[in-house]
Symmetry: none
Subunit: 276 residues, 2 copies
Amino acid sequence: MATSIAELIADRMDAMPTGEKRAAQTLIANYPLIGLKTVADFSHQAGVSSPTILRFVARLGFHNYAEFQSALQDELAAQLQSPLTRTAQTPPSRGRTAQTVDATLENIHGTFQHVSDRQIRDIVTLLSNRRCGIHLVGGRFTDPIARYMAAHLTIIRPNVSHLTGQESNWRDRLIDMGKRDVLVIFDIRRYQDSLLHFAELAAKRGIHIVLVTDQWLSPIARFSRHVIAGRTAVPSAWDSSAALFVIAEILIGELTRALETESQGRIREMEALRGG
Amino acid sequence: MATSIAELIADRMDAMPTGEKRAAQTLIANYPLIGLKTVADFSHQAGVSSPTILRFVARLGFHNYAEFQSALQDELAAQLQSPLTRTAQTPPSRGRTAQTVDATLENIHGTFQHVSDRQIRDIVTLLSNRRCGIHLVGGRFTDPIARYMAAHLTIIRPNVSHLTGQESNWRDRLIDMGKRDVLVIFDIRRYQDSLLHFAELAAKRGIHIVLVTDQWLSPIARFSRHVIAGRTAVPSAWDSSAALFVIAEILIGELTRALETESQGRIREMEALRGG
DNA sequence: CCTTTTTCGTAACGTATGATACGTTTTTTA
DNA sequence: TAAAAAACGTATCATACGTTACGAAAAAGG
Protein backbone atom coordinates (compact mmCIF):
# COMPACT_ATOMS: atom_id res chain seq x y z
CA MET A 1 0.00 0.00 0.00
CA ALA A 2 1.64 3.17 -1.18
CA THR A 3 1.18 6.09 1.19
CA SER A 4 2.40 8.85 -1.06
CA ILE A 5 2.00 9.48 -4.75
CA ALA A 6 5.77 9.35 -5.16
CA GLU A 7 5.81 5.79 -3.87
CA LEU A 8 2.84 4.91 -6.01
CA ILE A 9 4.77 6.06 -9.06
CA ALA A 10 7.90 4.18 -8.08
CA ASP A 11 5.84 1.02 -7.80
CA ARG A 12 4.28 1.22 -11.22
CA MET A 13 7.00 2.93 -13.20
CA ASP A 14 8.40 -0.33 -14.58
CA ALA A 15 5.09 -1.38 -16.04
CA MET A 16 4.70 1.86 -17.95
CA PRO A 17 5.21 2.55 -21.64
CA THR A 18 8.05 4.81 -22.70
CA GLY A 19 6.24 8.12 -22.86
CA GLU A 20 4.47 7.75 -19.55
CA LYS A 21 7.73 6.69 -17.96
CA ARG A 22 9.21 9.98 -19.11
CA ALA A 23 6.29 11.74 -17.48
CA ALA A 24 6.87 9.82 -14.26
CA GLN A 25 10.54 10.67 -14.21
CA THR A 26 10.03 14.38 -14.75
CA LEU A 27 7.39 14.43 -12.05
CA ILE A 28 9.74 12.76 -9.60
CA ALA A 29 12.53 15.10 -10.62
CA ASN A 30 10.40 18.20 -10.03
CA TYR A 31 8.21 16.76 -7.33
CA PRO A 32 5.54 17.82 -6.79
CA LEU A 33 5.33 21.29 -8.28
CA ILE A 34 5.32 20.32 -11.95
CA GLY A 35 2.21 18.29 -11.23
CA LEU A 36 0.45 21.39 -9.99
CA LYS A 37 1.00 23.27 -13.22
CA THR A 38 -1.08 22.82 -16.35
CA VAL A 39 -1.10 19.70 -18.44
CA ALA A 40 0.54 21.64 -21.24
CA ASP A 41 3.41 22.75 -18.98
CA PHE A 42 3.85 19.24 -17.68
CA SER A 43 3.82 17.67 -21.11
CA HIS A 44 6.23 20.22 -22.51
CA GLN A 45 8.66 19.73 -19.65
CA ALA A 46 8.53 15.98 -20.11
CA GLY A 47 8.84 16.22 -23.88
CA VAL A 48 5.66 14.31 -24.54
CA SER A 49 2.15 15.22 -25.61
CA SER A 50 -0.71 16.26 -23.38
CA PRO A 51 -2.70 13.05 -23.81
CA THR A 52 0.29 11.07 -22.62
CA ILE A 53 0.26 13.02 -19.39
CA LEU A 54 -3.41 12.32 -18.95
CA ARG A 55 -2.95 8.65 -19.66
CA PHE A 56 -0.13 8.62 -17.14
CA VAL A 57 -2.38 10.19 -14.52
CA ALA A 58 -5.17 7.76 -15.37
CA ARG A 59 -2.80 4.84 -14.96
CA LEU A 60 -2.06 5.96 -11.42
CA GLY A 61 -5.73 5.46 -10.68
CA PHE A 62 -7.05 9.01 -10.84
CA HIS A 63 -10.23 9.68 -12.74
CA ASN A 64 -9.10 13.04 -14.06
CA TYR A 65 -6.31 15.56 -13.83
CA ALA A 66 -8.03 17.66 -11.19
CA GLU A 67 -8.27 14.70 -8.85
CA PHE A 68 -4.59 14.05 -9.34
CA GLN A 69 -3.75 17.65 -8.49
CA SER A 70 -5.92 17.61 -5.43
CA ALA A 71 -4.07 14.57 -4.14
CA LEU A 72 -0.75 16.31 -4.68
CA GLN A 73 -1.97 19.39 -2.87
CA ASP A 74 -3.22 17.41 0.09
CA GLU A 75 0.12 15.71 0.33
CA LEU A 76 1.90 19.03 0.11
CA ALA A 77 -0.32 20.58 2.74
CA ALA A 78 0.50 17.78 5.13
CA GLN A 79 4.19 18.27 4.47
CA LEU A 80 4.05 22.00 4.97
CA GLN A 81 2.19 21.72 8.20
CA SER A 82 4.77 19.42 9.74
CA PRO A 83 8.24 20.36 8.57
CA LEU A 84 9.79 19.26 11.85
CA THR A 85 8.30 15.82 12.25
CA ARG A 86 9.38 14.95 8.74
CA THR A 87 13.04 15.09 9.65
CA ALA A 88 12.57 13.35 12.96
CA GLN A 89 10.02 11.04 11.42
CA THR A 90 9.48 7.38 12.15
CA PRO A 91 10.38 6.55 15.63
CA PRO A 92 7.42 4.45 14.72
CA SER A 93 5.85 3.36 17.94
CA ARG A 94 5.63 6.71 19.66
CA GLY A 95 2.82 6.97 22.12
CA ARG A 96 -0.30 8.88 21.33
CA THR A 97 0.79 11.45 23.83
CA ALA A 98 4.06 12.14 22.05
CA GLN A 99 2.27 12.35 18.73
CA THR A 100 -0.25 14.82 20.02
CA VAL A 101 2.48 16.89 21.63
CA ASP A 102 4.38 16.93 18.34
CA ALA A 103 1.27 18.03 16.51
CA THR A 104 0.77 20.79 19.05
CA LEU A 105 4.37 21.95 18.64
CA GLU A 106 3.88 21.97 14.89
CA ASN A 107 0.74 24.00 15.24
CA ILE A 108 2.43 26.65 17.33
CA HIS A 109 5.47 26.74 15.09
CA GLY A 110 3.39 26.93 11.94
CA THR A 111 1.14 29.56 13.40
CA PHE A 112 3.93 31.99 14.07
CA GLN A 113 5.57 31.42 10.73
CA HIS A 114 2.69 33.31 9.22
CA VAL A 115 2.25 35.91 11.93
CA SER A 116 4.40 38.91 11.21
CA ASP A 117 6.06 40.99 13.87
CA ARG A 118 4.35 43.92 12.30
CA GLN A 119 0.94 42.44 12.99
CA ILE A 120 1.82 41.87 16.63
CA ARG A 121 3.19 45.37 16.88
CA ASP A 122 0.05 46.92 15.43
CA ILE A 123 -2.21 45.05 17.80
CA VAL A 124 -0.02 45.93 20.76
CA THR A 125 -0.13 49.57 19.74
CA LEU A 126 -3.88 49.37 19.62
CA LEU A 127 -4.04 47.80 23.07
CA SER A 128 -1.51 50.11 24.66
CA ASN A 129 -3.70 53.19 24.68
CA ARG A 130 -4.68 53.30 28.32
CA ARG A 131 -7.52 55.70 27.64
CA CYS A 132 -9.44 53.17 25.58
CA GLY A 133 -11.13 50.25 27.25
CA ILE A 134 -10.27 46.65 26.41
CA HIS A 135 -13.00 44.04 26.49
CA LEU A 136 -12.27 40.34 26.11
CA VAL A 137 -14.63 37.52 25.29
CA GLY A 138 -14.47 33.99 23.93
CA GLY A 139 -16.51 31.00 22.89
CA ARG A 140 -17.42 27.93 24.84
CA PHE A 141 -13.90 26.54 24.94
CA THR A 142 -11.87 29.62 24.22
CA ASP A 143 -13.34 31.89 26.85
CA PRO A 144 -10.82 30.66 29.43
CA ILE A 145 -8.10 32.04 27.16
CA ALA A 146 -9.85 35.40 27.11
CA ARG A 147 -10.02 35.17 30.86
CA TYR A 148 -6.33 34.32 31.07
CA MET A 149 -5.43 37.32 28.98
CA ALA A 150 -7.73 39.57 30.98
CA ALA A 151 -6.15 38.43 34.23
CA HIS A 152 -2.78 39.70 33.01
CA LEU A 153 -3.89 42.85 31.26
CA THR A 154 -5.81 43.96 34.32
CA ILE A 155 -2.52 44.15 36.15
CA ILE A 156 -0.58 46.24 33.68
CA ARG A 157 -3.25 48.73 32.66
CA PRO A 158 -6.65 50.10 33.61
CA ASN A 159 -9.95 49.72 31.74
CA VAL A 160 -9.75 45.99 31.10
CA SER A 161 -12.88 43.89 31.36
CA HIS A 162 -13.71 40.28 30.66
CA LEU A 163 -17.23 39.74 29.37
CA THR A 164 -18.56 36.93 31.48
CA GLY A 165 -21.81 35.21 32.22
CA GLN A 166 -24.87 35.07 30.03
CA GLU A 167 -24.58 36.16 26.46
CA SER A 168 -27.38 38.64 26.92
CA ASN A 169 -25.24 40.43 29.46
CA TRP A 170 -22.63 41.12 26.81
CA ARG A 171 -25.05 43.20 24.83
CA ASP A 172 -25.90 45.24 27.88
CA ARG A 173 -22.23 46.09 28.24
CA LEU A 174 -22.16 47.45 24.72
CA ILE A 175 -23.77 50.63 25.96
CA ASP A 176 -20.55 51.43 27.80
CA MET A 177 -18.29 50.81 24.85
CA GLY A 178 -17.21 53.71 22.67
CA LYS A 179 -15.62 54.01 19.29
CA ARG A 180 -12.19 54.02 20.79
CA ASP A 181 -12.67 50.79 22.71
CA VAL A 182 -11.14 47.52 21.61
CA LEU A 183 -12.87 44.16 21.70
CA VAL A 184 -10.65 41.08 21.74
CA ILE A 185 -12.50 37.94 20.64
CA PHE A 186 -11.34 34.33 20.71
CA ASP A 187 -13.38 32.10 18.45
CA ILE A 188 -12.76 28.70 16.89
CA ARG A 189 -14.98 26.07 15.30
CA ARG A 190 -17.73 25.40 15.80
CA TYR A 191 -18.32 29.11 15.71
CA GLN A 192 -21.09 30.30 17.99
CA ASP A 193 -23.86 32.42 16.56
CA SER A 194 -24.09 34.40 19.76
CA LEU A 195 -20.50 35.57 19.41
CA LEU A 196 -21.04 36.47 15.78
CA HIS A 197 -24.10 38.55 16.56
CA PHE A 198 -22.34 40.30 19.37
CA ALA A 199 -19.34 41.06 17.19
CA GLU A 200 -21.61 42.45 14.53
CA LEU A 201 -23.34 44.74 16.99
CA ALA A 202 -20.00 45.89 18.35
CA ALA A 203 -18.63 46.53 14.87
CA LYS A 204 -21.66 48.65 14.04
CA ARG A 205 -20.86 50.81 17.02
CA GLY A 206 -17.42 51.37 15.55
CA ILE A 207 -15.57 49.30 18.12
CA HIS A 208 -12.24 47.90 16.95
CA ILE A 209 -12.25 44.12 16.99
CA VAL A 210 -9.14 41.98 17.38
CA LEU A 211 -9.95 38.40 16.46
CA VAL A 212 -7.93 35.34 17.40
CA THR A 213 -9.35 32.38 15.51
CA ASP A 214 -8.42 29.14 13.77
CA GLN A 215 -7.11 28.71 10.26
CA TRP A 216 -10.59 28.47 8.81
CA LEU A 217 -11.31 31.98 10.00
CA SER A 218 -14.36 32.63 12.10
CA PRO A 219 -17.04 34.62 10.27
CA ILE A 220 -16.25 37.36 12.76
CA ALA A 221 -13.17 38.08 10.64
CA ARG A 222 -15.55 40.02 8.47
CA PHE A 223 -15.95 42.66 11.17
CA SER A 224 -12.45 42.56 12.56
CA ARG A 225 -9.70 45.10 12.23
CA HIS A 226 -7.00 42.58 13.10
CA VAL A 227 -7.14 38.83 12.60
CA ILE A 228 -4.65 36.26 13.86
CA ALA A 229 -5.19 32.66 12.76
CA GLY A 230 -3.76 29.80 14.81
CA ARG A 231 -3.57 26.16 13.83
CA THR A 232 -5.70 23.77 15.79
CA ALA A 233 -5.45 20.32 14.19
CA VAL A 234 -4.31 17.48 16.46
CA PRO A 235 -4.95 13.74 16.40
CA SER A 236 -7.67 13.93 18.99
CA ALA A 237 -11.41 14.20 19.27
CA TRP A 238 -11.00 17.89 20.10
CA ASP A 239 -9.27 20.73 18.39
CA SER A 240 -6.26 22.18 20.17
CA SER A 241 -6.35 25.76 21.37
CA ALA A 242 -2.71 25.73 22.43
CA ALA A 243 -1.62 27.95 19.54
CA LEU A 244 -4.26 30.50 20.48
CA PHE A 245 -3.06 30.35 24.05
CA VAL A 246 0.49 31.13 22.95
CA ILE A 247 -0.80 33.99 20.83
CA ALA A 248 -2.42 35.39 23.95
CA GLU A 249 0.81 35.02 25.91
CA ILE A 250 2.82 36.72 23.18
CA LEU A 251 0.40 39.65 23.15
CA ILE A 252 0.53 39.84 26.92
CA GLY A 253 4.31 39.84 26.91
CA GLU A 254 4.69 42.44 24.20
CA LEU A 255 2.07 44.70 25.70
CA THR A 256 3.77 44.46 29.06
CA ARG A 257 7.00 45.56 27.47
CA ALA A 258 5.29 48.40 25.66
CA LEU A 259 3.72 49.69 28.86
CA GLU A 260 6.78 48.85 30.91
CA THR A 261 7.54 52.20 32.41
CA GLU A 262 3.95 53.15 33.05
CA SER A 263 2.92 49.81 34.47
CA GLN A 264 5.84 49.47 36.88
CA GLY A 265 4.35 51.95 39.27
CA ARG A 266 0.95 50.38 38.86
CA ILE A 267 2.26 46.92 39.72
CA ARG A 268 4.11 48.19 42.76
CA GLU A 269 0.99 49.93 43.96
CA MET A 270 -0.97 46.72 43.51
CA GLU A 271 1.47 44.62 45.44
CA ALA A 272 1.32 47.16 48.25
CA LEU A 273 -2.44 46.84 48.39
CA ARG A 274 -2.15 43.07 48.26
CA GLY A 275 0.47 42.96 51.00
CA GLY A 276 -1.52 45.30 53.22
CA MET B 1 12.13 45.28 0.63
CA ALA B 2 9.89 42.29 1.06
CA THR B 3 11.55 38.98 0.22
CA SER B 4 8.53 36.75 0.40
CA ILE B 5 4.96 37.26 -0.68
CA ALA B 6 3.82 36.71 2.88
CA GLU B 7 5.87 39.68 4.02
CA LEU B 8 4.69 41.70 1.07
CA ILE B 9 1.13 41.09 2.16
CA ALA B 10 1.87 41.93 5.77
CA ASP B 11 3.33 45.22 4.66
CA ARG B 12 0.41 46.30 2.55
CA MET B 13 -2.44 44.73 4.43
CA ASP B 14 -3.21 47.93 6.29
CA ALA B 15 -3.64 49.95 3.14
CA MET B 16 -6.14 47.50 1.72
CA PRO B 17 -9.91 47.84 1.53
CA THR B 18 -12.05 45.48 3.55
CA GLY B 19 -12.63 42.78 0.96
CA GLU B 20 -9.06 42.53 -0.14
CA LYS B 21 -7.96 42.41 3.48
CA ARG B 22 -10.17 39.36 3.88
CA ALA B 23 -8.44 37.81 0.90
CA ALA B 24 -5.07 38.56 2.46
CA GLN B 25 -6.08 37.03 5.75
CA THR B 26 -7.32 33.80 4.25
CA LEU B 27 -4.21 33.52 2.14
CA ILE B 28 -2.00 33.94 5.18
CA ALA B 29 -4.10 31.50 7.16
CA ASN B 30 -3.84 28.83 4.46
CA TYR B 31 -0.48 29.85 3.06
CA PRO B 32 0.31 29.24 0.31
CA LEU B 33 -1.86 26.45 -1.05
CA ILE B 34 -5.10 28.38 -1.36
CA GLY B 35 -3.29 30.72 -3.70
CA LEU B 36 -2.45 27.85 -6.01
CA LYS B 37 -6.07 26.87 -6.47
CA THR B 38 -8.47 28.61 -8.80
CA VAL B 39 -9.72 32.14 -8.31
CA ALA B 40 -13.18 30.74 -7.65
CA ASP B 41 -11.91 28.47 -4.86
CA PHE B 42 -9.92 31.28 -3.34
CA SER B 43 -12.77 33.75 -3.48
CA HIS B 44 -15.23 31.25 -2.03
CA GLN B 45 -12.93 30.41 0.85
CA ALA B 46 -12.43 34.09 1.60
CA GLY B 47 -16.11 34.87 1.27
CA VAL B 48 -15.62 37.53 -1.37
CA SER B 49 -16.15 37.72 -5.11
CA SER B 50 -13.71 36.70 -7.81
CA PRO B 51 -12.94 40.23 -8.94
CA THR B 52 -11.94 41.12 -5.41
CA ILE B 53 -9.34 38.37 -5.48
CA LEU B 54 -8.01 39.65 -8.77
CA ARG B 55 -7.90 43.21 -7.49
CA PHE B 56 -6.07 41.93 -4.43
CA VAL B 57 -3.51 40.19 -6.59
CA ALA B 58 -3.17 43.28 -8.75
CA ARG B 59 -2.57 45.43 -5.69
CA LEU B 60 0.33 43.21 -4.73
CA GLY B 61 1.94 44.21 -8.01
CA PHE B 62 1.20 41.23 -10.21
CA HIS B 63 -0.11 41.79 -13.72
CA ASN B 64 -2.40 38.78 -13.65
CA TYR B 65 -3.35 35.78 -11.57
CA ALA B 66 -0.99 33.42 -13.36
CA GLU B 67 1.99 35.60 -12.51
CA PHE B 68 0.91 35.60 -8.88
CA GLN B 69 0.67 31.82 -8.84
CA SER B 70 4.05 31.46 -10.46
CA ALA B 71 5.60 33.58 -7.74
CA LEU B 72 3.99 31.42 -5.09
CA GLN B 73 5.25 28.29 -6.78
CA ASP B 74 8.76 29.61 -7.05
CA GLU B 75 8.73 30.43 -3.37
CA LEU B 76 7.38 26.99 -2.57
CA ALA B 77 9.97 25.31 -4.76
CA ALA B 78 12.75 27.10 -2.92
CA GLN B 79 11.29 25.97 0.38
CA LEU B 80 10.94 22.36 -0.71
CA GLN B 81 14.42 22.18 -2.14
CA SER B 82 15.99 23.11 1.18
CA PRO B 83 13.89 21.67 3.95
CA LEU B 84 16.69 22.13 6.41
CA THR B 85 17.30 25.79 5.84
CA ARG B 86 13.66 26.38 6.47
CA THR B 87 13.94 25.57 10.14
CA ALA B 88 16.97 27.83 10.30
CA GLN B 89 15.04 30.42 8.37
CA THR B 90 14.68 34.03 9.50
CA PRO B 91 18.22 33.75 10.70
CA PRO B 92 20.13 36.15 12.85
CA SER B 93 17.90 39.04 13.69
CA ARG B 94 14.94 37.12 15.03
CA GLY B 95 12.35 39.24 16.71
CA ARG B 96 11.46 38.98 20.33
CA THR B 97 8.29 37.26 19.30
CA ALA B 98 10.14 34.45 17.54
CA GLN B 99 12.46 34.03 20.51
CA THR B 100 9.61 33.78 22.95
CA VAL B 101 7.81 31.32 20.70
CA ASP B 102 10.95 29.20 20.51
CA ALA B 103 11.29 29.26 24.27
CA THR B 104 7.68 28.19 24.60
CA LEU B 105 8.21 25.34 22.15
CA GLU B 106 11.25 24.26 24.14
CA ASN B 107 9.24 24.37 27.32
CA ILE B 108 6.51 22.14 25.96
CA HIS B 109 8.97 19.76 24.39
CA GLY B 110 11.07 19.57 27.53
CA THR B 111 8.05 19.14 29.71
CA PHE B 112 6.88 16.01 27.95
CA GLN B 113 10.33 14.55 27.82
CA HIS B 114 9.98 14.06 31.55
CA VAL B 115 6.36 13.04 31.60
CA SER B 116 5.95 9.33 31.14
CA ASP B 117 3.05 7.73 29.32
CA ARG B 118 2.52 5.72 32.46
CA GLN B 119 1.96 8.85 34.50
CA ILE B 120 -0.61 10.11 32.03
CA ARG B 121 -2.29 6.72 31.99
CA ASP B 122 -2.52 6.57 35.76
CA ILE B 123 -4.07 9.99 36.01
CA VAL B 124 -6.51 9.22 33.23
CA THR B 125 -7.52 6.03 35.00
CA LEU B 126 -8.13 8.03 38.13
CA LEU B 127 -10.26 10.54 36.27
CA SER B 128 -12.19 7.98 34.27
CA ASN B 129 -14.22 6.65 37.18
CA ARG B 130 -17.54 8.30 36.52
CA ARG B 131 -18.79 7.61 40.00
CA CYS B 132 -16.23 9.88 41.60
CA GLY B 133 -16.54 13.62 41.29
CA ILE B 134 -13.86 15.74 39.68
CA HIS B 135 -13.22 19.21 41.04
CA LEU B 136 -10.89 21.65 39.31
CA VAL B 137 -9.31 24.80 40.65
CA GLY B 138 -6.38 27.04 39.86
CA GLY B 139 -4.47 30.07 40.97
CA ARG B 140 -4.73 33.64 39.84
CA PHE B 141 -3.35 33.01 36.38
CA THR B 142 -3.87 29.29 36.04
CA ASP B 143 -7.53 29.16 36.95
CA PRO B 144 -8.53 29.75 33.31
CA ILE B 145 -6.74 26.50 32.47
CA ALA B 146 -8.76 24.70 35.14
CA ARG B 147 -11.81 26.26 33.60
CA TYR B 148 -10.76 25.16 30.13
CA MET B 149 -10.32 21.61 31.30
CA ALA B 150 -13.61 21.66 33.16
CA ALA B 151 -15.44 22.89 30.07
CA HIS B 152 -14.32 19.77 28.20
CA LEU B 153 -14.66 17.23 30.97
CA THR B 154 -18.21 18.35 31.65
CA ILE B 155 -19.10 17.17 28.19
CA ILE B 156 -17.64 13.70 28.35
CA ARG B 157 -18.59 12.70 31.89
CA PRO B 158 -20.83 13.65 34.83
CA ASN B 159 -19.78 14.98 38.23
CA VAL B 160 -17.35 17.62 37.04
CA SER B 161 -17.21 20.96 38.83
CA HIS B 162 -15.00 24.00 38.57
CA LEU B 163 -14.42 25.76 41.86
CA THR B 164 -15.09 29.37 41.11
CA GLY B 165 -15.55 32.61 42.91
CA GLN B 166 -14.24 33.54 46.31
CA GLU B 167 -11.71 31.32 47.95
CA SER B 168 -13.91 30.94 50.99
CA ASN B 169 -16.50 29.29 48.79
CA TRP B 170 -14.09 26.53 47.95
CA ARG B 171 -13.97 25.39 51.55
CA ASP B 172 -17.74 25.24 51.68
CA ARG B 173 -17.68 22.86 48.76
CA LEU B 174 -15.38 20.53 50.64
CA ILE B 175 -18.37 19.24 52.58
CA ASP B 176 -19.65 17.63 49.38
CA MET B 177 -16.38 15.94 48.51
CA GLY B 178 -15.82 12.35 49.50
CA LYS B 179 -12.78 10.15 49.75
CA ARG B 180 -13.23 8.94 46.22
CA ASP B 181 -13.35 12.38 44.70
CA VAL B 182 -10.46 13.85 42.73
CA LEU B 183 -9.23 17.41 42.99
CA VAL B 184 -7.24 18.77 40.06
CA ILE B 185 -5.17 21.80 40.99
CA PHE B 186 -3.18 24.12 38.74
CA ASP B 187 -0.63 26.14 40.62
CA ILE B 188 2.51 28.00 39.59
CA ARG B 189 4.65 30.69 41.18
CA ARG B 190 4.00 32.72 43.03
CA TYR B 191 2.12 30.05 44.85
CA GLN B 192 -0.98 31.28 46.62
CA ASP B 193 -1.44 30.53 50.28
CA SER B 194 -5.15 30.17 49.84
CA LEU B 195 -4.66 27.31 47.39
CA LEU B 196 -2.18 25.63 49.68
CA HIS B 197 -4.54 25.76 52.65
CA PHE B 198 -7.39 24.47 50.61
CA ALA B 199 -5.30 21.59 49.27
CA GLU B 200 -4.23 20.69 52.78
CA LEU B 201 -7.82 20.55 54.00
CA ALA B 202 -8.82 18.45 51.03
CA ALA B 203 -5.94 16.06 51.57
CA LYS B 204 -6.95 15.58 55.17
CA ARG B 205 -10.36 14.48 53.99
CA GLY B 206 -8.67 11.82 51.89
CA ILE B 207 -9.36 13.43 48.57
CA HIS B 208 -6.99 12.49 45.76
CA ILE B 209 -5.13 15.50 44.44
CA VAL B 210 -3.71 15.80 40.94
CA LEU B 211 -1.35 18.73 40.78
CA VAL B 212 -0.19 20.48 37.64
CA THR B 213 2.55 22.92 38.57
CA ASP B 214 5.80 24.44 37.38
CA GLN B 215 9.24 22.92 37.55
CA TRP B 216 9.90 24.32 41.01
CA LEU B 217 6.96 22.36 42.36
CA SER B 218 4.25 24.06 44.31
CA PRO B 219 4.22 23.14 48.02
CA ILE B 220 0.94 21.44 47.29
CA ALA B 221 3.01 18.61 45.81
CA ARG B 222 3.44 17.45 49.39
CA PHE B 223 -0.25 16.50 49.54
CA SER B 224 -0.67 15.32 45.99
CA ARG B 225 -1.06 11.82 44.67
CA HIS B 226 0.03 12.80 41.17
CA VAL B 227 2.27 15.68 40.19
CA ILE B 228 3.03 16.90 36.68
CA ALA B 229 5.58 19.66 36.34
CA GLY B 230 5.65 21.90 33.29
CA ARG B 231 8.35 24.36 32.28
CA THR B 232 7.44 28.00 32.40
CA ALA B 233 10.56 30.04 31.67
CA VAL B 234 10.36 32.50 28.78
CA PRO B 235 12.14 35.77 28.04
CA SER B 236 9.29 37.87 29.28
CA ALA B 237 8.12 39.61 32.39
CA TRP B 238 5.67 36.76 33.00
CA ASP B 239 6.05 33.04 33.22
CA SER B 240 4.47 31.02 30.46
CA SER B 241 1.64 28.64 31.27
CA ALA B 242 1.56 27.20 27.78
CA ALA B 243 3.10 23.89 28.86
CA LEU B 244 0.46 23.51 31.56
CA PHE B 245 -2.18 24.26 28.99
CA VAL B 246 -0.88 21.48 26.76
CA ILE B 247 -0.83 19.11 29.71
CA ALA B 248 -4.48 19.89 30.24
CA GLU B 249 -5.22 19.25 26.58
CA ILE B 250 -3.37 15.95 26.65
CA LEU B 251 -5.33 14.82 29.70
CA ILE B 252 -8.55 15.90 28.06
CA GLY B 253 -7.72 14.00 24.90
CA GLU B 254 -6.67 10.81 26.63
CA LEU B 255 -9.61 10.86 28.97
CA THR B 256 -11.94 11.36 26.03
CA ARG B 257 -10.46 8.32 24.38
CA ALA B 258 -10.73 6.30 27.56
CA LEU B 259 -14.39 7.16 27.99
CA GLU B 260 -15.05 7.01 24.29
CA THR B 261 -17.84 4.47 24.20
CA GLU B 262 -19.60 5.75 27.26
CA SER B 263 -19.32 9.41 26.36
CA GLN B 264 -20.57 9.04 22.80
CA GLY B 265 -24.14 8.63 23.93
CA ARG B 266 -23.71 11.46 26.39
CA ILE B 267 -22.43 13.82 23.73
CA ARG B 268 -25.25 12.91 21.36
CA GLU B 269 -27.78 13.53 24.10
CA MET B 270 -26.19 16.89 24.82
CA GLU B 271 -26.30 18.00 21.21
CA ALA B 272 -29.94 17.03 21.10
CA LEU B 273 -30.67 19.22 24.11
CA ARG B 274 -28.65 22.00 22.56
CA GLY B 275 -30.41 21.72 19.24
CA GLY B 276 -33.87 21.52 20.82
C1' DC C 1 8.19 -10.48 -42.91
C1' DC C 2 3.46 -9.74 -42.14
C1' DT C 3 -0.29 -9.26 -38.86
C1' DT C 4 -2.00 -7.80 -34.57
C1' DT C 5 -1.67 -5.04 -30.63
C1' DT C 6 -0.13 -1.30 -28.21
C1' DT C 7 1.39 3.34 -27.89
C1' DC C 8 1.53 7.95 -29.16
C1' DG C 9 0.48 12.52 -31.19
C1' DT C 10 -2.64 15.71 -34.00
C1' DA C 11 -6.73 17.96 -34.09
C1' DA C 12 -11.16 19.25 -32.63
C1' DC C 13 -14.54 19.91 -28.91
C1' DG C 14 -16.88 21.65 -24.71
C1' DT C 15 -16.22 23.41 -20.32
C1' DA C 16 -14.32 26.01 -16.74
C1' DT C 17 -11.41 29.75 -15.79
C1' DG C 18 -9.51 34.36 -15.63
C1' DA C 19 -10.66 38.79 -16.95
C1' DT C 20 -13.68 43.06 -17.71
C1' DA C 21 -17.46 46.32 -18.05
C1' DC C 22 -21.02 48.29 -15.46
C1' DG C 23 -24.39 49.27 -11.90
C1' DT C 24 -25.04 49.31 -6.81
C1' DT C 25 -23.59 50.06 -2.42
C1' DT C 26 -20.64 51.89 0.95
C1' DT C 27 -17.41 55.11 2.58
C1' DT C 28 -15.21 59.51 2.49
C1' DT C 29 -15.03 64.41 1.94
C1' DA C 30 -16.91 68.94 1.72
C1' DT D 1 -26.40 66.40 5.14
C1' DA D 2 -25.20 66.13 0.43
C1' DA D 3 -21.93 65.27 -3.10
C1' DA D 4 -17.95 62.77 -4.63
C1' DA D 5 -15.06 58.88 -4.52
C1' DA D 6 -13.95 54.43 -3.68
C1' DA D 7 -15.07 49.65 -3.35
C1' DC D 8 -17.64 45.73 -4.24
C1' DG D 9 -20.45 42.29 -6.66
C1' DT D 10 -23.28 40.63 -10.84
C1' DA D 11 -23.27 39.44 -15.33
C1' DT D 12 -20.79 38.73 -19.50
C1' DC D 13 -17.03 37.60 -22.53
C1' DA D 14 -12.84 35.51 -24.58
C1' DT D 15 -9.71 32.15 -24.03
C1' DA D 16 -6.98 28.68 -22.12
C1' DC D 17 -7.56 24.38 -20.36
C1' DG D 18 -8.66 19.44 -19.86
C1' DT D 19 -10.61 16.01 -22.44
C1' DT D 20 -11.66 12.84 -26.23
C1' DA D 21 -11.71 10.71 -30.89
C1' DC D 22 -9.06 9.11 -34.49
C1' DG D 23 -5.30 7.98 -37.33
C1' DA D 24 -0.19 7.29 -37.61
C1' DA D 25 3.70 5.09 -35.71
C1' DA D 26 5.99 1.73 -33.08
C1' DA D 27 6.25 -2.63 -30.80
C1' DA D 28 5.05 -7.38 -30.12
C1' DG D 29 3.84 -11.87 -31.67
C1' DG D 30 3.49 -15.53 -34.97
